[in-house]
């Protein structure tokens, strides 16, 4: 039985060695309890029905039933379960499909431990998580997709300076470069960045780009 406060997790991937790797890494985390493993989407759906996890991490390409179809099914029947899509490289379109199917986040399979844990906890709290290694192209694709996680009624206000910085972040400038453009120290820019992250309730730059584009703060040149 899970103790109070632990996050119950199921993972699905058709590569056993990858599941073993994840298992090994999570074994030392007290706040996360791995309650099941599946190697295809169909088994995953059955397992969720039986075991009621808090979070599911699933590969996208799997035999019998893929992660996208499984996500669609789970989102419909178990909307409280947070789903994280796992992707290898060059799967931008599949990631979009996952998010549109109802996944709350995604990770590249070579994400490091800290990020995997952060993703699980974020999604557990019903927030969205975008992998740090997301390319600018993918961030724009997410922003243009049907996926829209921003349903909060009260929209935060942003100052002109913040809007300026948001636009520069979206153009892939670093804190240092933004500082040089606006005659601010990079630490001041970092301060603005933290405040923007907090106001938007996102975890990283990718979140800022998606938020900014969805709300019209930034329009991509293409």
């Amino acid at each position: 039985m899970a103790t109070l406060g632990t996050i119950k997790l199921i993972i699905a991937d058709d590569h056993e060695i990858f599941r073993d790797g994840l298992k090994l890494m999570l074994a030392r985390q007290d706040e996360i309890e791995l309650i099941g493993e599946a190697d295809n989407g169909k088994d995953l759906v059955e397992m969720v029905e039986k075991l009621h996890p808090d979070v599911v991490m699933t590969d996208i390409k799997m035999p019998i039933m893929d992660g996208i179809e499984a996500t669609r099914h789970l989102t419909e029947h178990f909307p409280e379960v947070g789903i994280i899509g796992l992707s290898m490289f060059n799967e931008d379109n599949l990631i979009i499909d996952m998010l549109e199917a109802g996944a709350k986040g995604y990770l590249l399979k070579n994400a490091d431990k800290k990020e995997v844990l952060e993703a699980i906890k974020t999604v557990y709290q019903q927030d969205n998580y975008y992998c740090r290694q997301t390319s600018a192209k993918l961030a724009q694709m997410i922003a243009k997709s049907k996926f829209n996680p921003f349903t909060q009624k009260v929209r935060p206000e942003f100052s002109e300076r913040e809007k300026e910085i948001i636009a520069l972040i979206c153009q892939e400038f670093t804190n240092k470069e933004i500082g040089e453009k606006l005659f601010l120290s990079s630490r001041t820019v970092e301060g603005y960045r933290m405040k923007i992250l907090e106001k938007m309730n996102v975890k990283n730059t990718v979140g800022i780009v998606v938020y900014a584009m969805k709300h019209g703060f930034y329009v991509s040149p293409q």
Binding site: H15, F18, G21, L24, M25, M88, N93
Partner: protein
Amino acid sequence: MSPQEKDLYKFILIIAVVLGIIIAYFIFSIIRQQRRTLSLHQEKILAEITTLENERRRIASDLHDEIGPLLAAVKLQINSIDSEDESDKMLIHKSSTQIDEIIGKMREISNNLMPNTLVRKGLVSALEEFISAINKTSQLKLSISTDNNITINKEKEINLYRMVQEIIHNTIKHARATQLNINLYVKDNDLILITEDNGIGFNFDNRLRENSGLGLRNLSSRTEIMGGNYHFHSQPGKGTKYVFEIPL
């Protein structure tokens, strides 16, 4: 005319007709043989290109589906080592970064072998992506204009993509150009691809004879198997223009 003469004429006539038939038959067989050789030649090129593209696709998907997850698993395992020792931590961090680099390289290789965008979103998106990547790293400035609704089959898309790639690589390597414009549009029942650079140009026949003409051969083979036509205009000092007409 004496009966002997008549017979002689008849004889000559018969010989002439027989000879005529034999010669006609020869000409006919030569033409047939030539057509057969040409179609065999085209089949051979088609088979070569198909094999090449299939192999590329297979290697790309093996890298992605087999090696990728293995490496990711190794990274997870290394990451699960909980050591307090600083040098261990450094080693874990270094190994993780190296695995990321390998995965990054694999991603590049796999994308070169068979661009994901080409497979999923088609020729125009793939070209735009390739061009914006080149624009970021190269002195050569590329521009592309295309019709929005170009619908051609996957094989032709791959061929045209490779051809544009070839032209861009040629231009970077040989042309000393600063600008290359690419035009792709539909006219009547043909897809027209025109590329124009402002480089130093080259002598087409010389290039084809040299070994470096391999790229040009690739362009003409791919055009040929799509049943298309092409012409090049290039003069030393006046840039290079390629025009391809590919039936839809």
